[in-house]
Amino acid sequence: MPAAGVVMIVAVVLIVGALVFYLVSTILALRKITRGLDEAIGGVIGIIEKSAPVNEVVTTINQNLDAGVDLLEGLLVKKAGLADAVGLVEGLYPGAAAEGFRNFPDSKTVKAPRIGEVYTRGTLTLARLGREAPIAAASPNGPALRNPAYGSLAARGLYPEGRQAKPQAMPRSPVIGADSPVQYVPSDSPGVRERMPVPAGSGQAPAQSEHNPQGGPVKSFLRRLKNDD
């Protein structure tokens, strides 16, 4: 065989070898791509299936929330009046008055009153407790009364000192009943006792009330009328 023919055969073998190598490598890479796409398609199908009811559910939630907003806006405006309602909302959420109420277009043009000038301090306190944040930033200019972490303790500050801060120092409620340690005699008239209560078994004679030695104030008044006669 001539040398040129051998060289040609070698060249063809090289070309075929290169074709086989690269095409097999490409096939392997394409198989990897196919597997990856299968996984991706599975994930996408999962996303589609899981997100299918989201639209309907979110729509329903929005409808319910819209109904709630309509209800609360209507109730607030009905009870407080449009101007005060806008003022209260402005006090709770500064800047919200500019947006107005959804169902009351006139609320955008209402001049919101300063909430501190309209309502008492107690109302503001209640509003602050509900808001968990400083309200009516301009008036009054104080911190939020309610601490979210210790909300129950903060609420005690609203009541007189002693009852809430030191409940253990308060006298216990009286024990009532036929065998109670202190026997109470029913009074003839409200606020006036026939005699002061005496602990059972103490041996003390029941003391007569100074206000009513022999009866209630009506009987005493009638007795005095007789004496005058």
């Binding site: 040129a4 060249a11 490598s25 890479a29 791509i33 991706a40 994930g43 929330l65």
Partner: protein
């Protein structure tokens, strides 16, 4: 004879390099797609897992309905016990 050598030269110096170049380009392109596809697959699976909580929207829906009903009852009571604004 000379033509045969010329043909051999063309095969070895032109055809073989061109074939290798083209096939290599195809292989590189295929290999470059593989990591992207794998990343897409991972992202799709993670996205699918993230949507597992979407089922809780049904609970949220029920809770919203109950909350609105409670607010409506409360509002009705307030409507009764509070006077309307003048």
């Amino acid at each position: 004879m000379i033509l045969e050598w010329i043909g051999d030269a063309i095969l070895l110096l032109v055809v073989l390099p061109v074939v290798v170049y083209l096939l290599r380009g195809v292989l590189n392109a295929a290999n470059s797609i593989v990591p992207s596809v794998q990343q897409i697959a991972v992202a799709a699976q993670q996205g699918s897992r993230d949507l597992d909580a979407a089922a809780l929207l049904l609970t949220t829906q029920d809770q919203v309905v109950k909350t609105i009903e409670t607010a409506a009852d409360y509002g009705g009571s307030l409507d009764v016990i509070l006077d309307d604004a003048r």
